[in-house]
Amino acid sequence: MNKALDELFVYPKELVDEESKRIINVVRQWADKEIISKRQEYRENYEKLFTEKSKTLNLTIGLQRLILPEEQGGFGWNNPANAPGIASILTEIGRADAAIGVATAVKYTILAAITMAPNFDKALCDALAPVYCGEELKTFSLILPGMGNVGQDTPLFLGRSILATAEPEGDGYVVNGKNLRPINSGAIADLFCVVCADKVGKPCIALVPGDNANVVRGRTLQETGLNASFNADVSFNNVKIPKSYVISRQGVVEEIYTWLNLLLGGVSVGTGLNFFEMVGDWSETRTIKGGYMMKENPLCASVLADVADEVFTSRLFLYDLAQTISKPNDWGQSGSQRVYTVSQVIGSKIQQNVMRAINRGLELMGSAGYSKEWHVEKHWRDIKTIQSYLCGVGAEAPVKMDTARFFFDCKDI
């Protein structure tokens, strides 16, 4: 590959300022030096190196504090205008390892609900930042509403069952919920962000420290991908939390979805870019029909074009969404119905595109695409895992309904 990724996969560079570009470049160097150039070693010692590389990224480079305000010791990227820069950071991480990307995306999504202007909650940030964004690597986990079980009648968030409750008790809240499935890190999380129903069934989010004795974790799940995430089902049995740990402002759950769609979109675009690099190398070193370089065969070239097309458009979609979030005066806050719906549509489209890109590219790589030695199969498994989690219920049923509701003013769906 003779051209740099940014020359090929054009994006609106003006959305990212020079200071942000400097940090993004540092993350790219981390990705290249720490993981991409050492894929084999990284694969063979994955669990150990996952933690080491995560620490380098979060503590040495300091990304754990990226979206904290400067006065809280952060980088000060806590304004919606930073959305394109944050998405770029996630793209660089996703290019190296989607699992580190997901952990980072979830952390930023949760922190965004606390730190992002205009909803910066200084008291809560002062309480949480020293513990969860300090000198130790901390893991955040997110529990969204989703499917219910037959026989249950649950409060709903736009059709999705809210399986946890947060009810006031004394000077705080009590959180309850059985066998809830986080989207990541249930087995190891230091802090959970749980979408709960209050006592009248209205959605809110509760922040639950993982070291509470009444937080019960199930066994670590074995999943298709993202296994370094160490996910597990979690139960909250009358977990008491301070009153300030519950955020119930209008649209807060929508905000969570909006940022999650953007940031997981960034992760998947990054993974797609690295897959593009890999399949590009493959197509230049393999011959077919007794001597033709693979990429020079028109049929193979058309498959390669599909790969590039899907990743290319995904990256454009990503920055479209980032730009929409970054301009609340034009389009509304991240929790507004418009921005939330746009994030659902684009978030879904990016995951589908990147999944298709990898599926198509694997067709050319044949068995090598399936072999762990070539590393692309990890990208394939990781992206499918992200996509499955984002689908939520019944193959994106809620996303479809959200979209129809916004564009067609549906009232009863």
Partner: protein, 426 residues
């Protein structure tokens, strides 16, 4: 619908053995595979858990399937002489594939090279007698492999129509009454130390595209000069080991060649439809299992406090999934019937362009639908889609390689174009 057996298949064409075979294998799967299959991924290298299940499927103390293709006179079941050989194979592929497609491919690839010497009208009795004891007298599972793919060319070796074997670098040289083989193969199913017997597609004249210079030569795995590498680590299909094989001055008797000049190229073309039909059978088996799991899931999980299956939108998705399974099964049995018509006046020989191209077309279609259906089913499961507890993700990982193997999607497309549009240069 009563259960997954109701998915369409041509009842008037299926083998009289169908019901019995399905029942036996379904019992084996329920007892020996289903309870353990979630542990298979970690067992990819050693097969501590997988091997006993194979023994009970293939060996004489179990179902004994590894001898099924051999003639009864040699201790087998005579399926190679049956008019329903393809249809029976599809049923076997489905039932084993429902439990684990990797086990299905490992077991059925044992038949694959043997079809060249055991299936009417090309039975090579001398070789059949030579190898029958290896498979018919063993209590343990005994595997065979078709060592086809070479490092330099990927699917080129299967592109016989255009390349005619001219890219093959594994060379057989005749010395007295022995063939001397040299070459390097990779990725065959049942390598990585598993196989007892290889068939080796090779050339007697490097660079030639003359069918007379193409040879299929059988090589017992313990022959001096055969070296097998360890198994590759893969995204799935743990029960199917794949690795490298090197042949270095390997000597076998001259009569270990399947049939001889010309006919070897023909039987090599004939094994392709076997592989394609079986591949479709594996896919159908996995799809039937998907349906079982999905049925339970959409009946017990809710959206808007109603079972998923009772939501109109979700019903449209699962309806399409079930519809695709039904169509794929119909197409799979049509492919099998195409194979079973090979000796009939109204059929085509299985080495013909008609059968090869139509079967590649069907395999491509069924695989495409499977990749889509399994991906969509994982999406229906949402946060549970990637969870190994639900088994759909295992099938999702496994069926992708079925799409990729045997030349993959692009070879299927090119062969379809070549046949349907009379392309001359593809």
């Amino acid at each position: 619908m009563k259960n997954f057996d109701e998915f369409s298949k041509p009842e008037e064409y299926i083998s009289p053995m169908d019901k019995h075979i399905r029942s036996v294998i379904r019992n084996w799967a329920a007892k020996e595979v289903m309870p353990y299959r979630r542990k298979y991924d970690e067992d990819w290298k050693d097969h501590h858990i997988i091997e006993p299940a194979f023994d009970k499927l293939m060996g004489n103390k179990g179902v004994g399937l590894q001898k099924a293709l051999f003639p009864p006179e040699l201790g087998g079941w005579g399926i190679g002489q049956s008019d329903s050989a393809f249809t029976v194979s599809c049923a076997l592929a489905e039932e084993v594939g429902r439990a684990d497609t990797a086990m299905a491919v490992a077991f059925m690839v044992t038949y694959w090279p043997l079809t060249t010497i055991l299936v009417d009208p090309h039975v090579n009795w001398r070789l059949a007698k030579e190898f029958a004891p290896m498979f018919c007298n063993s209590d343990k599972a005994v595997f065979a492999a078709n060592a086809m793919t070479e490092p330099q060319g990927g699917a080129d070796i299967e592109n016989m129509e255009i390349l005619g074997g001219k890219t093959i670098r594994t060379v057989a040289r005749l010395e007295g009454d022995e063939w001397v083989l040299n070459g390097h193969k990779l990725w065959p199913t049942n390598t990585g130390g598993v196989s007892k017997l290889f068939s080796v597609p090779c050339t007697t004249k490097p660079g030639s595209n003359d069918p007379n210079d193409f040879a299929m030569i059988f090589v017992p795995a313990d022959t001096k000069g055969v070296t097998q590498g360890g198994p590759y680590e893969k995204a799935g299909m743990a029960a199917d080991k794949n690795g490298d094989i090197w042949f270095e001055d390997v000597r076998v008797p001259v009569w270990y060649r399947a049939h001889g000049p010309g006919m070897d190229a023909q039987v090599f073309r004939e094994i392709i439809p076997w592989g394609l039909a079986a591949s479709m059978g594996f896919i159908c088996g996995a799809m039937l299992n998907l349906y079982e799991i999905l049925y339970d899931f959409v009946s017990t999980k809710t959206y808007k406090n109603k079972p998923l299956k009772e939501d109109d939108h979700i019903a449209s998705i699962i309806g399409r999934i079930a519809g695709d399974i039904d169509i794929c099964r119909i197409l799979t049995y049509e492919a099998a019937r195409m194979g079973d018509r090979r000796n009939k006046p109204y059929g085509y020989p299985i080495h013909s362009d008609e059968v090869a191209c139509k079967m590649r077309n069907l395999k491509d279609f069924v695989c495409d639908r499977a990749v889509d259906v399994f991906g969509k089913a994982m999406d229906v499961l949402g946060p549970f889609g990637a969870d190994r507890e639900y088994d759909i993700e295992k099938h999702w990982r496994d069926i992708k390689i079925i799409q990729l193997w045997m030349g993959g999607k692009q070879l299927c497309q090119v062969e379809a174009a070549r046949y349907f549009f009379n392309c001359k240069t593809l």
